[in-house]
């Protein structure tokens, strides 16, 4: 095979043309020894990148003149009465700015970021404009297609840079596909990180190589059938389309400024990586990826009209803690000013995807979630009751009603519009000893607008924001990606008055002690020592619940602090207080002594439990949080007033 032949084959392969196995084998043999042809292949990829990025001028919207001309045509129009307007047509007027920006054939175009910058001046954009804009856009989105280029650095010393592409398709409410194609030229035989995730209403499919480094890795496939609507166990990663989970809380979003991306007005925001994880769903599907530090900074360019993310980049955090972490992972020095990972839109549009895009291959051994769809009219006959319905669901439409097979006496009613969803589970035969649904006994108790009690948990990696309501004769579980306020408003519109947890859930035995959920005032009455709260908690955290722990004659108190909006990896911060004059015996080989500050006795840190323990004025204090390291734990600990101060106060 000569260069000319090899390059022609390479060119065809690059374009997705099928080559015979003999041609592939001959080409690969040639490439092993021919640096010139390998250079041609790399150059062709670079040409593709520049062509796709640069070759798209802004496209005018010509629908009106074209349709005006069409309407003057004499062509016989038939069966017009059969025509039902599609939802996209209904939504067009509401979507006008988005449509103008995007419907006209997408914004494939230059992504070279630059243009006029505004920082803290001009027409400043508040973080709440961004979060509210995204929430509003989410319910207006019918369909979406996009292609992105992904560049990753420092996967390993041998693979300093990887180039991948990612395609995303969506059709409301629950059809989604994500393809990642790896274009990396690996120096040694390696399985490319080619991934696929497909959601088609009640079926779900994911495939990709096992994460085993840059080597030959086995391919994995998993599938779910009879999927529950908006099942978070088989999720649809909506943030790639609109960062509905990443950018919900304006207090956590920093607006850096405005600029021009793809020739359009764009706003740049920053969030720490731990909050931006939903923008990187491919990391979970399979393949090997570089590690990220929780406080690495993710800078996101959002289209100011549509709020679609156009480009997001990860910049390394600075500080010794990150440096030590990087050493552990064998990462080279990474300056804080240079992105280590970037995702860049090449083409974004609101076009309806081809239905075949969402076809899911048959997979043996698919997990059965047991959801059986039923028409609303038949629910009473099948479930034995008529599910309650909220008077308002933030404008979402009724989408599906299913009966979970494993729990025949319960129903799940799903509401959706665009990317926004709310599911309402109900049972009349709950026998559990904790709230119904994915809500724990330490959840925050909330008095809903208009009265009634609900138990709330923030969004997490596994679940959306959720509530459990214990009513007279019924139990409700609500889960949603709506904001906390919208979720509470929907719950308040239910014709059920939430009651406090029954004693059977509130009080339980644990290792010879009795643990009882109480209010802070009840705990203060029952405890023989002052209950002091930290004055400084990570942003967004608040007191969720309080428990009394009674063992023998001693009464201790445990306070649980949760993020009100979304748990981004810190988890629950737990502060336990009980009378004692010394620390318990050492319980781990890896404990170290630390100075909590201003106290006669040193404290103790146990890394494996992220736990800090110390004695303050005759009270044992233990503070732990799964996602906090020593420094932030110490900051919380040092903000807790000393017992001596508390007594005086």
């Amino acid at each position: 095979m000569n260069h000319e032949q090899a390059e022609r084959l390479l060119s065809a392969r690059l374009d997705g043309e099928r080559l015979s196995s003999r041609a592939v084998a001959a080409l690969d043999r040639h490439l092993e020894t021919c640096a010139e042809c390998r250079a041609f292949e790399r150059g062709a990829y670079r040409l593709r990148e520049s062509a796709r990025i640069e070759l798209a001028p802004a496209v005018p919207d010509l629908v009106e003149p074209i349709m005006a001309a069409v309407r003057t045509e004499p062509r016989q129009v038939t069966r017009l009465r059969d025509f039902r307007p599609r939802r996209t047509r209904r939504l067009m007027p509401r979507l006008a700015p988005v449509a103008a920006a995007l419907l006209v054939g997408a914004i494939a175009g230059s992504l070279v970021v630059g243009g006029p910058w505004q920082r803290d001046g001009g027409s400043a954009l508040a973080a709440s404009d961004v979060t509210e804009g995204i929430a509003a856009a989410a319910v207006h989105l019918d369909a979406y297609q996009a292609t992105f280029a992904i560049r990753e650095t420092h996967l390993s010393p041998e693979v300093p840079v990887r180039d991948l592409t990612m395609s995303v398709w969506f059709e409301e409410p629950e059809r989604f596909r994500l393809d990642v194609t790896d274009h990396t030229d690996y120096p040694t035989p390696a399985t490319p990180t080619d991934l696929r995730l497909v959601v088609d209403d009640s079926t779900w499919y994911a495939s990709g190589p096992a994460p085993c480094g840059t080597a030959r890795c086995p391919l994995r496939e998993s599938a779910v059938r009879n999927r529950l609507p908006f099942s978070t166990a088989a999720p649809l990663p909506a943030d790639l389309i609109l960062p509905v989970s990443t950018l919900t809380d304006p207090d956590r979003v920093t607006v850096l400024g405005r600029g021009t991306v793809l020739g359009r007005s764009a706003v740049r925001v920053e969030v720490p990586f731990e909050r931006a994880r939903p923008l990187f769903p491919f990391l979970q599907i399979g393949g090997s990826w570089r590690p990220f530090f929780p406080s690495d900074r993710v800078r996101i360019w959002l289209d100011e009209r549509s709020w679609f993310p156009l480009r997001w980049e990860v910049f390394p955090a600075s500080g010794t803690e990150r440096d030590q972490w990087a050493l552990r992972f064998g990462l080279p020095e990474e300056p804080a000013t240079r992105p280590v990972f970037s995702v860049t839109a090449l083409d974004v549009g609101l076009r309806d995807p081809d239905p075949q895009v969402f076809e899911i291959p048959a997979v043996a051994g698919a997990t059965d979630q047991g959801a059986r769809p039923v028409p609303l009219a038949q629910v009473e006959r099948e479930a034995g009751f008529v599910p309650v319905a909220p008077a308002s669901v933030a404008g979402l439409d009724l989408y599906r009603v299913v009966l979970p097979r494993e729990d025949p006496g319960s129903t799940v009613v799903a509401y959706a519009d665009g990317l926004a969803f709310l599911t309402l589970g109900e049972t009349r035969t709950w026998m559990g000893d904790a709230p119904f649904g994915p809500v724990g006994v330490q959840a925050e108790e909330i008095t809903l607008p208009g009265g009634g009690i609900a138990y709330y948990e923030p969004a997490s990696n596994e679940h959306g924001r959720r509530l459990s309501i214990h009513g007279a004769g019924t139990e409700l579980s609500i889960e949603s990606n709506l904001s906390r306020d919208e979720l509470l408003a929907a719950a308040a519109s239910l014709p059920v008055e939430g009651l406090p947890m029954p004693d059977a859930w509130r009080v339980r035995g644990s290792g010879g002690a009795v643990v009882e959920r109480v209010t802070l005032a009840q705990a203060r009455d029952a405890a023989s020592f002052p209950i002091v709260l930290p004055l400084s908690l990570p942003q967004g955290f608040g007191l969720a619940s309080v428990e009394l722990v009674a063992a023998g004659n001693d009464v201790g108190v445990t306070l649980y602090f949760r993020d009100r909006d979304a748990d981004a990896g810190i988890g629950t911060i737990r502060l336990h207080l009980e009378p004692a004059n010394s620390l318990p015996a050492a319980s781990s080989a890896d404990q170290s002594t630390v100075d909590v500050g201003g106290l006669p006795l040193p404290g103790r840190f146990t890394p494996e439990r992220s736990q800090l323990e110390w004695i303050d004025t005759g009270i044992y204090r233990s503070l732990d949080a799964p996602g906090l390291s020593l420094e932030p734990l110490l900051a919380v600990a040092r903000s807790i007033p000393s017992g001596a101060e508390a007594s005086v106060a």
């Binding site: 060119s11 640069e54 802004a58 010509l62 629908v63 309407r71 045509e73 081809d354 239905p355």
Partner: protein, 172 residues
């Protein structure tokens, strides 16, 4: 590039103006871009796009699905572009900078120049395959040539464009 939902296409074939409008919305961007790269003139690209959809509307009833809808539509667009160019007796080879939308005009101009540096014979398959994502068979349908011709023109177009853009990868 995906073909439309067959139900939409069928409704449009039967004369449903709403369904046809959906097709216009979905494909006007691609048709316009193709026309623009073909004619290098924004106003001409507008005319070609409008004319192409008008012809598509007239002839849709006769579209039997022998090729993909997108190939068929591009073929019409190409014919319209050729007609417009002939009618005006110009072939616009100049580089037309596109105003107001590009943060790095230099990069775009270079690419446009590189496109200008290859012959129309090579530029057309390059645009169809590389930019619009058509397969070789679809590009062959649009241009009325054989698949083998597309294959060899793609290779030559790449070589020429890489040279024009001075893309040189070290032969490592």
């Amino acid at each position: 590039m995906n073909d439309p939902d067959p139900r939409t296409l069928e409704r449009a074939r039967r004369g449903d103006a709403g369904a046809f409008e959906d097709l216009v919305r979905a494909y006007q961007g691609d048709v316009w871009r193709f026309a623009y790269h073909f004619t290098r003139d924004r106003a001409l690209a507008d005319d070609v796009t409008q004319e192409a959809f008008l012809r598509a509307y007239r002839f849709l009833k006769g579209f039997r699905g022998d090729s993909r809808f997108t190939s068929w539509l591009f073929r019409i667009a190409r014919n319209c572009a050729m007609d417009q160019i002939r009618a005006r007796n110009v072939y616009v080879e100049r580089v037309t900078p596109i105003s107001g939308t590009v943060a790095d005009p230099q990069a775009r101009v270079e690419l446009q120049e590189a496109l200008g540096a290859v012959s129309a014979e090579h530029r057309e398959p390059f645009l169809l395959v590389e930019v619009f994502g058509l397969s070789y068979q679809e590009a062959a349908d649009v241009l009325g040539v054989r698949v083998g011709t597309i294959k060899s023109r793609m290779h030559r177009a790449r070589k020429a464009m890489m040279e024009a853009l001075e893309i040189e990868e070290d032969a490592r």
